[in-house]
Each structure stands twice: as structure tokens, then as C-alpha cells.
Symmetry: C2
Subunit: 239 residues, 2 copies
Amino acid sequence: MTRVKNINTWLTHLTQESKTSLSVDCVIFGYDEEGLKVLLIDCNMPPYEGKKSLLGDLVQMNETLEDAVIRVLQRRTTLTDLYFEEVKAYSDPNRHPLGRVVTIAYYSFIKISDYKIHDSEDKHLEWIPINDIDELAFDHRLILDESYKSLKKKIRNHPIGFTLLPEKFTLMQLQNFYETVLQIKMDRRNFRRKLNSLDLLIDLNEIQNNVSHRPAKLYSFDFKKYNKLMEKGLLNFTI
Amino acid sequence: MTRVKNINTWLTHLTQESKTSLSVDCVIFGYDEEGLKVLLIDCNMPPYEGKKSLLGDLVQMNETLEDAVIRVLQRRTTLTDLYFEEVKAYSDPNRHPLGRVVTIAYYSFIKISDYKIHDSEDKHLEWIPINDIDELAFDHRLILDESYKSLKKKIRNHPIGFTLLPEKFTLMQLQNFYETVLQIKMDRRNFRRKLNSLDLLIDLNEIQNNVSHRPAKLYSFDFKKYNKLMEKGLLNFTI
DNA sequence: TCAAAAGTGTTCAGCGTACACCCATGC
DNA sequence: GCATGGGTGTACGCTGAACACTTTTGA
């Protein structure tokens, strides 16, 4: 009987020559008062000198891809509750000048003020506003575009935004967040009704002060209630 | 200046010891009159002898992941317009008994009658009804579950179903397809109205014959119209 | 004439969308 | 008092969901 040797059926060892380098690349989205930005680093690898690239690294032998992403993210931040999502694998044999490197792309989304810059490499790091990014090294522009598309989809059905705002926020700050990230305009009255109907905001009975206009009420997000409702599968969170 | 060596910034070569085996695994969903099935193969690799596994293979040096998927699918079918979607990467260092194998999971969905069994390996191949599948080799049960979830989501927004039915089909056949794949019941009148309102079915002015009940009208799907509308981005296909 | 599936309409509730005016504060 | 953003309500159209009876055919 001829039998095709196959990784899932019958094989006795893995050969060196079929192995490949594997990396993770992370589109780190950041949000602050100025808007939506992406953390990029200078690439000095020919032929991409002068271009910026995403943060990423080779995956080590004893870690999962998720471990590698956490490593990439934590090299630069002290945050522990990191949020990230897998986007897609990129495997063009010619995508990397050093040879074959398959990369799995992830995106993360953090509050820029929580981000700690802390090693000598950091001078090559920069938060670039999403709309100011032009060409990137490797296929990173493509990765960025597909990640951003994926983020925009995700953010309308998951309360990612609430961890990126100050603990106490106004409805206008919240709406600005969605408008900035989604790059659309929303109707103020409809937005407020929508958020109220979700019944997940805690009215703190506090107001802004020192603003030269009518002060807005402050809210916080009821993560406990959200988690409880999601566990029971009985919440349709859509914005 | 200390500088972290990094795949995206500054590195002169790729070392052997950081390389890993890479595979693709494909959840091949199939549909026929009997329902939704998955193509599985016997696994003879310790410690999984006697279990079934998904179809997959190691990725070769000069192919993309998509090339590898097509190779896996075409080893067993003569179809050219293969449909497949990436699901997720699985990278637990202990997921494979031969050593570290990172796998990228894909699902495909085909008409079982189009599928050609054609080599000696095939006697180990079987279409198993989705609800009859128990444990699988490796982490393939997890991969199957996550792929099925992903398929169910996809199928409500993309006309995948229409390639899996006979060219001429009745509305009941179409509804059965959705009910079977989604494992839900749908209201007949609402379903028919929905499909009519999409205005993508071609009324063939033909009816079933030799059925011992009122014969149903036959339809086909207007792929041309669908593609045209989708290009213009002006169709919200949801079932 | 019976069994079996085909075919058909209406009502209701919820949700997204569009839209304009008065209010509270600091300067 | 004026500039600035905060706060509010209504009307309409679309869509999903629930629900029962008549029609056509073969046996």
C-alpha cells in the first residue's frame, strides 16, 4: 500500500529542512485625547532603512504565539490585562528579506497614558496618528490595514473602548472615542439614547468642573454587570 | 547603545534553532441530502491510534499557507473554485507528539457529490456527520469547534450555501440547508419572504415532478447579480 | 379521500435614523 | 451677554418574529 506521509496520520519525525522561522507582529493601537495612533519602530533592515515597522518578534521554541505577543507587548508596558486579537497569518515566501518568515498578526489596543517607555530602544519608537502613516517596512502596511478593519468591526460589539477612557468619562468623550476610531460621525441624541438603553453606565452623580460651558455628567462603565450578562449570553452589545 | 535584536528592526540572519515546523489543518465541511458532515482521516500516530483527525499537512518551504491548503484540498478533489477561510493559529508547544508543530486552521465547505475519492489513502477517509463526531486526535476537536462556530457566523452573511445545493433547488431545500448547518429552526413564511426580498433568486419557471405532493418551484441563484451588487458595496446579504 | 409538502399575509414590537431647540457655565 | 458644549423627544420606516389555513399532487 502506498501511503502519503502526513503530519496528521503517519510520520516518524520532523525534518529540519521543512522548518521555518515564525514571528508575531502586533499592531498596537493607542488612544488619547489627540486620537487614534499606532506604535511604530524604526526599521534598519535593508532594503527598508528609513521606514517604520510594527512591533514584533520571532517566536521562541517553548512559547505559544500568545506568549510571544505578551512578550512583545510587555517589553514596553507594565500593563497586565493586555487585550489583543489574532488577525491573520502572512506567509508569502518573499515577505521578509532575511528569508522565509511566516508571521501571525495581532492587534492590541491600549490607553497611551498607561504605556511606559523604558529602554534604550525606545528612542526609535513612536506613536503615529493613524491617518499620518504612509508606507511601512515589509508587508506591514497591509497588516495594519487588515487589522484596523478588524478592530473597527470588533469595537462595535465589544466594550473595548471603556478601558481606554478615563475612569470617569462624559458621554461626549465616549462618543468622540467611537467617532475617532470608526472614523464616522454619529448623532448625539441617538448615541446617548443607545448608551442609556444598554443600561451599563453608572451615573456617578458628579459633573465636570472648570469648563467654560455647561458641565457634563460623569459616568463609569459597569464591567461587573456587563460580564454577568455576557456569561448568561443575554446581552446584545452593539454600538 | 544596547539594542534588542529584532526580526522587524535589526537582524542579520535567521538561526536554525528558532525555526519550527508549520502545518495547515483543514476542517472540510461537506453537505448532501443527509446533512452536514466533516471529512476525517484515520490517525495512526501514537498516542492517537484509532482516533480520527482533520486533513492537513506540513507547509513546504516555497509555498504560502494558502498554497498548502489548496494542495490539501486538491489532493482529494478536482474542484478548482475552492472556498476556504482562515480560522486561527494553534501553537501550544505540546500540541503534537512529534515535537513543536504550529498549525494554522482553515475551514472549507464543499458539495459532497463533487468530491472525488481517488487514491489508496482514501480508505482511511470518511465523511462523518457533524453530530456524530466525538474525540479527535491532537487538538482537532477544539479546531473543529472553533471552525464550526466561525462557519455558522459566515454563512449568514455570504451566499456559500448556493454552491452546495443542486443547480436548481426549491426554497425548502434552501431552508433545510440553513436549518441543518445552523442547527436552528426557521419560520417557512419568513424565510421565503426574506429570500424573495433579496431579489437574487432566478425563478426558473420549472417545477419538481414525481413528488407525491404539490410540486415546488425551482430556483437558481443569480451569482452575477450578487457579485455586481457586492462590488458596489450596496447589498446587505443576511439570512 | 388522504397524506404530505407547497404556498401565502398580517400584525406587532423594537431599532436605527433624522432632525432643532433650550440650558448651564466661565469669561 | 455671549460663546461653548450639554442635554433632551418625536416621528418614520425597516426588519425580525409570531402565527394558520388553503392548494396541489401521487398513491
